[in-house]
């Protein structure tokens, strides 16, 4: 296989993104290394999913650049962007299976849309992809008949149907029972190594993500707070990183939402609350 010179599949430089009046990203720099699993972690609401959408070209940054395989995603036209997306796979949080098709047709969807392969070959490919995620036997079920974990695995089979170069996972572990969590962790690692993918995982499930990630970025308040391998992060001097990784309830991120002085609030009675409205 040809090895491209650039060791980074994705390069984000000084990227700013504003939604409404809220600054989501304020000068973010990150690199996704080829062949590795990179995790992007941070508390809910830090725009982790938004970052994936920016990489996939569904959103455009307000400043800075996002390069995927040497192409600046936010400057690409419709056709070039769609060409690039054929080489990207994305696993959505809820799977996002097409609800009017069964499992087989869902996995066959990208193949039928983008290739002119004969139906017999599509059948074999779909069954192989389903086999890889352990759901070959479920090919005729409808999405409504699947559990959350199964939906995600079918969506994963669909995402790898066109053999992408980069796989993006949006919160793959959220809301999974321990068994399907274990299955997903194993699958992500296996697929990455067996298919020679580059993977990006966006998550706040610390233990699972750390167990498979080769490199981790911690995001908070629109900035990269810390980055490194799992061990390097343990030695990080950032108080915030320590609080996040250890799951402490108080620290640089306070337990309380900013509020008036507690005693004054209590003594003021109803008047203050009503007049604030």
């Amino acid at each position: 296989m040809m090895t491209p010179a650039n060791p980074h599949v994705v390069e984000v430089r000084q990227m700013r993104f504003v939604r409404g009046k809220r600054m989501i990203f304020d000068g973010v720099d990150l690199d996704i290394q080829r062949g590795k699993i990179t995790a992007i972690m941070g508390p809910s609401g830090t725009g982790k999913t938004t970052l994936l959408r920016l990489i996939g070209g569904q959103l455009r940054p307000d400043a800075g650049s996002i390069m995927v395989e040497g192409q600046q995603v936010d400057k690409l036209g419709h056709t070039a962007l769609y060409q690039l997306r054929k080489r990207m796979g994305m696993l959505f949080q809820n799977g996002a299976l097409l609800t009017d098709m069964n499992v087989f047709d869902n996995v066959a969807f990208p193949l039928r849309e983008h290739t002119k392969l004969p139906e017999a070959l599509i059948r074999d490919l779909v069954l192989m992809k389903l086999h890889a995620v352990g759901l070959r036997g479920a090919w005729q079920l409808m999405p409504s008949e699947l559990s959350g974990g199964m939906s995600r695995r079918v969506a994963l089979a669909r995402a790898i149907a066109l053999d992408p170069m980069i796989m993006m996972y949006d919160e793959p572990f959220t809301g999974q029972d321990p068994i399907s969590m274990g299955v997903l962790v194993r699958l992500i690692r296996q697929l990455n190594d067996a298919l020679g993918l580059t993977s990006v995982i966006v998550s706040h499930d610390i233990a699972e993500t750390r167990s498979i990630a080769d490199y981790i970025y911690l995001l908070s308040n629109g900035k990269v707070v810390a980055h490194g391998t799992s061990d390097e992060l343990d030695r990080s001097e950032s108080e915030w990183a320590q609080q996040f990784l250890k799951g402490l309830s108080d620290g640089p991120v306070p337990f309380h939402y900013p509020a008036e002085d507690y005693r004054r609030d209590m003594l003021a009675g109803e008047n203050v609350v009503v007049s604030n409205r």
């Binding site: 997306r85 796979g89 996002a96 097409l98 609800t99 990208p110 849309e113 995402a159």
Partner: protein, 260 residues
């Protein structure tokens, strides 16, 4: 206080024009996606089934009753002038020129338009449209364009069925119950209903309504706020806006076609 009212008003106006712009942009994108459907016409046929064929029951039943009411009302007016033989003309002209296209479009907005909006809105809310984009499949071309074309094809056909069933309804009441002469019911209709002036104009109306209702339904669906409340609001807006648009356009088209 006054300032905030003005500010609010300005914001509403801006929102309105932004939506209008997005709507027209979507319309152009849909039109651009139609040529790509020719090699994959199966997608359109599938939608003609769910948009058109499944609307048949309500169209046939309503057409029958509207025709029967026209027969009854027309007879009561005409009989005072001894002109009850012209009942066929009254029933058929009312249906072909006005009630066929208009009532069909209103029923279509309620039956198929709302279903389209809810379907697209939920596909958006469950990230299915987003997932398609990431699979490099343009949802406008794959999902919206076939539905648009299906609405465009189905509407005149449904209006024709509505009018035909309505004429039969008028016949059952007028000839069957009230004793109008059968020969004059049909022959006067044949003599007075003009292919170009009446039938073609009716077909043009229903084509216009087909475009407008389907466009509004698809736009509301794809512009819906992706929550259950957002989708429910979008569905309501589809029915309200497309019904108003149909009635308003009907006046304009009638004035252009039959006006002095």
């Amino acid at each position: 206080m006054i300032l905030s009212v003005i500010q609010n008003l300005g914001q509403k106006g801006l929102d309105f024009f932004q939506r209008l712009g997005r709507g027209h942009l979507l319309f152009v994108q849909i039109l651009a996606g139609i040529p790509g459907l020719i090699p994959r016409f199966g997608l359109v046929i599938q939608q003609v089934f769910s948009v058109g064929v499944l609307s048949m029951v309500i169209i046939v039943v309503s057409g029958l009753f509207v025709g029967m009411v026209l027969g009854l009302q027309g007879y009561n007016t005409l009989v005072d002038f001894g002109a009850e033989e012209s009942l066929g003309v009254v029933v058929s002209l009312s249906l072909v020129r006005e009630l066929g296209p208009v009532v069909t479009a209103l029923l279509f907005a309620g039956r198929a338009g709302s279903a389209l909006t809810a379907e697209i809105g939920l596909m958006k809310a469950t990230e299915q449209l987003s997932a398609m984009e990431m699979m490099a499949v343009d949802p406008v071309r794959r999902v919206l364009a076939p539905r648009f074309l299906a609405g465009f094809i189905s509407m005149p056909l449904l209006a024709a069925i509505f009018s035909a069933v309505g004429v039969l309804g008028g016949y059952f009441v007028g000839v069957g119950l009230l004793g109008v002469d059968e020969g004059s019911y049909w022959s006067q209709m044949q003599a007075k209903v003009d292919l170009y002036n009446d039938i073609y104009n009716g077909v043009i109306k229903s084509l216009v309504f087909g475009i407008v209702v389907t466009w509004i339904a698809l736009f509301e669906g794809s512009d819906a706020i992706p929550t259950s409340e957002g989708v429910s609001r979008a569905t309501t807006r589809t029915v309200v806006h497309s019904s108003l648009a149909v009635l308003g356009l009907d006046f304009i088209l009638t004035a252009l076609m039959f006006g002095a």
